[in-house]
Amino acid sequence: MHRVAITGIGIISCLGRDIDQVGAALREGRSGIVVDPERVTLGFRSPLTGGISDFDPTKELGRKQRKTMPDFAVQAYAAARDALTMARLEDEQIQNDETGIIIGCDSSCIAAIEQVDLLKAKGETKSIGSGLVFRSMTSSVTMNLNTLLKTRGACWSLSSACSSGGHAVGQAADLIALGKQERIVCGGAQEINWQSMCSFDGLGAFSLRIDAPSAASRPFDVDRDGLVPSGGAAVLILERYDLAQKRGAAILGEVLSYAFSSDGESISVPSSDGLGRAMKKSLQAARLQPSDIDYICAHATSTPAGDAAEAQNITSVFGPSTPGVSSLKSMTGHELWMSGASQVVYSTIMARQGFTAANANFERPDEHSAKLNILTETLSQPPRTVLCNSAGFGGTNACLVLRFDQ
């Protein structure tokens, strides 16, 4: 088995357009949550959402290229370009059979709506235009990135609800560890728009703390009242460690292991042991004890049931003395398909910039979170050995163990 290095990262999120902006927001505990007034008019319970306002797709790609791309695919392209630049990989080094692309994504809602509306308005399918078929597919991100970056290895999108990004990074790491690919552009992408979130809003799972958007996402806090949907794109360059070393790349960190599990229980309520089983397997695969982990980058989304289940799962694995825990969704909101990948990017940013971000808005624990060592203030030391949790509807769990050597 080969070791797997992280050599580049890129991100477009509600915390910023690049790793410096995002790092500053994480360090300061700054929220990217806004109120979308249109959602109020439309009949949403909650108008809260992560907001990306400073990203202009027309600056990234031409009109012909964007014709087949939803906004989040352009964001993924921009993040991938940033990550490749950081990894100092030139185009000719990735345009080969040994370079792949795997991105977690589970929807492309706007294009599906637009094509139906256009057909109804025009009365003929040929007036729909050529772009929407490619924009409407869940694999839109990877088919477009493959066309633009011209890689020739693995190329697919991975769908597993809110753990899509975690499984995508994990599968990429496994393919490299197995020797099937030398490097993979991997991550997660998530659309931000009211259309894709309206039925989710109807479930009553979103926070109603409309008067204080930055305090709305409060994972593990006793007064949490729901998640805040968010999105963007997070991309990492994973490489075979020995090859990255050989070409003199700066190694940002290492993916020590990836493990997964599923609950086999409820479609919407996480089980009491599913995530814990994945955590244990990831520690075993990394040949680590729970006490070797010094930071847990939690999945916790700020829903009452989900956070309680994760807290119980963490306690079952780590016992009464847990490592520092924070859910960065307290600042970003829940980045859904992207979140499992963005947690790896955020952890890498913290390791590089020398801090560990707090769990914002955590004021009082409930009976389950009281057993966790939740970080209430930014630590001035970076994380070294990190466990990233992610979990999705239907009970699909992904755990990644990362190591950062300073």
């Binding site: 009109r63 012909k64 235009g129 050529s130």
Partner: protein
């Protein structure tokens, strides 16, 4: 519309849709090799021309035969003249 007005409207419409430089667009310009369009783009070219000239294009065979901008100009001019003649 004069033939010249039709040519100018074809060129400006395609230039906007496909981000082309008007200076590069002559009757001899090939749409696939010179302008870099592909078969998917012809789907959108038809929509653009229909919008610009307010007619429907049913001649799919004729569209497939188009190779140069001059072919497009001739096709659109022919189509406009047919419609003006009430054919």
């Amino acid at each position: 519309m004069t033939d010249q007005e039709i040519i100018e409207l074809v060129n400006s419409s395609l230039a906007e849709e496909f981000e082309l430089e008007l200076a590069d667009m002559t009757a001899e310009t090939t749409i696939y090799d010179d302008l870099g369009l592909d078969s998917l783009d012809t789907v959108d070219m038809v929509i653009v021309l229909e919008g610009a000239f307010s007619f429907k294009i049913r001649e799919e065979e004729a569209i497939r035969e188009i190779r140069t901008l001059g072919d497009i100009h001739a096709f659109v001019i022919g189509k406009k003249r047919q419609l003006e003649a009430g054919l």
